[in-house]
Symmetry: C2
Subunit: 353 residues, 2 copies
């Protein structure tokens, strides 16, 4: 029997808070299709010295995001691929344990691209200091962190929703989608979410205040197109897409004149071994004089503070409800990653270290 | 032997300019795939009386446009379908022969949606009076008419090209594409055209002043993607798409950051019997923070005068070069229509009545 005071992987004789080794998840092979456990390897290594300006962070929660699947591929997209043999890239939140940057001190809580490892190192200017009294750490990592900022800038700056318009969002019970829908509700839009399963759909309406929800595993009339038409009688003014594939296609078929389609992700396509399925209904962009536009959150870096402050204010006012699904143990990285693709989780998915 | 003075279809005893019957091309059946000759029927009918506000126009040139293929389908898009048994819809230019609208007089030259017929009738408020001294009638119908306005608003208002940017246009030797490329050149862009065949490509560079041309029937390296990459070393800032399909997909793969993709048409897909091919590379909109946007020229009706005046000024200044491909005889409507899809023509395609 092990107790929290004496966990099996961290012998008690090592001083708490000053680890001397680091467990890391490496990318061992580039996945083909759905990532397999063998594509990753958990290793334990000694620590390297910090360079000037660098900060060492003990990760508490590691973010699991669909974009990680793209980073595993050889092809450069907006960021270089993770190297085979390198630490898997991920965002994380944790506390500073060593700093060679004058703005960071031991004990500071920070968020950054620290990788899937217990002890990440990053230049201080790539870390964001956060206030742990504002919300629990998983919320600071999710709804008030990368996911929330993605929702905030993607919906408001790219989707440009107006009060009274209908906003449709896919993966609506996920880390990004749940915040998108709630911001749209705060803006004064009619909000329709697409999620997989009846319990997620209930959550959207009962907990998050969506106006309607579509279960893509069992759409009304057995038909996504008709289900969207039913739920969006005035057409879709803003569609925030996290999934791609058939759902994107169905949504494109129901656009209102002048609609905006925000391309945030395409989780249904990330494990495709052939070509990505292109949206057959894209010509509706012409018929409806609509636009489809992609964005990357990190283009808004100089406005992160604005977004984070607004999200925190909504959270404090009870207007923003968050859910986190936590998987415990860095050794369960692959299991947790699979939950992203199976959808067997609710809200923001994170790994507790 | 027949002479122009005594054509077989117009007996000499009828007074010239005051026809009493009207030859019309009717849509007989909705085409499946490529339209067949049997899908249309040429009939001769008597004239109906005009209602108040209507104008009768003797068509001189009838415009042939890819959009006509969509109007033949049963499904409503941005405009109601042509009825089976009804006159095929088309734009035309001609002279007023009878008017019950106070702003139109016999002899006025007008452009409007007059249908594929010798004598079209339209409400005066749907006709545009044009000055026949500005350019030959086919040019007034094409580069200074609907095609030119489509190019003008689509490129400038949707594509938003900036001097120094690279503008790529497909169907670049066609009625719309040739004007798009020349406006882009006037704006100060690097202009690359995609067209089918070496002679069209030569025309783009030698006659229209494009910077480069890609023959999609024989692209450099045998690969559209690489051919576009070669011709657009800084990436594509504006892609004006008239064709859809593989060419759209290849262009999406070469976007510059912040690119604008203008969806004007998709002639490669209009005769598809299955689903339209969606662009597999649409996720590059996210990677490149780019947008893809559709438009319809008639949304810009209140700015037609502005566009037409600017196009006429460029033509007068020698900055805009136009080509028209004329097929003579309303009875050759189907033959002419086929040239749109085979591409065996250069510039604006019109039927001389």
């Amino acid at each position: 029997v092990t107790s929290p005071q004496n966990p099996p992987t961290r012998p008690a004789e090592k001083p708490v808070g000053v680890p001397v080794t680091n467990r890391q998840v490496l990318l061992r092979a580039r996945p083909v299709g759905l990532p397999r456990a063998e594509d990753f390897e958990l290793v334990e290594r000694g620590l390297e010295d910090l360079s000037l300006g660098e900060v060492r962070v003990r990760a508490r929660y590691i973010s699991l995001d669909p974009a990680m699947r793209g980073w595993m591929n050889a092809r450069r997209s907006y960021i270089r691929p993770v190297e085979v043999g390198g630490v898997m890239r991920a965002a994380a939140i944790g506390q500073v344990v060593l700093s060679r940057h004058h703005q960071f001190h031991i004990g500071d809580t920070v968020v950054g691209m620290l990788g899937v490892q217990e002890l990440g190192v990053a230049p201080g200017d790539q870390l964001l200091k956060v206030d742990p009294s504002v919300a629990p750490l998983p919320t600071l990592l999710g709804a008030l962190g990368g996911n929330g900022l993605t929702a905030y800038f993607g919906l408001l700056d790219v989707g440009c929703p107006e009060p009274g318009e209908t906003v449709l969002v896919s993966a609506a019970a996920g880390g990004v989608g749940s915040v998108v829908g709630q911001i749209a509700r705060i803006v004064g839009c009619r909000v329709v979410g697409i999620a997989g399963g009846a319990s997620k759909c209930r959550h959207l309406i009962e907990d998050l205040g969506f106006d309607a929800a579509i279960d893509h595993k069992a759409p009304k009339h057995g038909d996504m197109r008709r289900a969207i038409e039913d739920a969006c009688p005035d057409g879709v003014h803003v569609y925030f897409d996290n999934v791609g594939g058939d759902i994107l296609d169905a949504a494109l078929g129901q656009l209102a004149v002048g609609a905006r389609v925000v391309i945030c992700g395409a989780i249904s396509q990330y494990n495709a071994e052939g070509r990505v399925a292109g949206p057959s209904n894209y010509l509706n962009l012409m018929v409806k004089r609509a636009r489809m536009e992609g964005f990357l959150t990190f283009d808004y870096q100089d406005r992160y503070a604005e977004g984070a402050a607004q999200l925190a204010a909504w959270l404090a006012a009870g207007q923003l409800v968050t859910r986190e699904h936590i998987v415990i143990g860095i050794e369960r990285f692959h299991d947790a990653l699979m939950l992203l693709f199976s959808g067997d989780k609710l809200g923001k998915l994170a790994l507790e270290v």
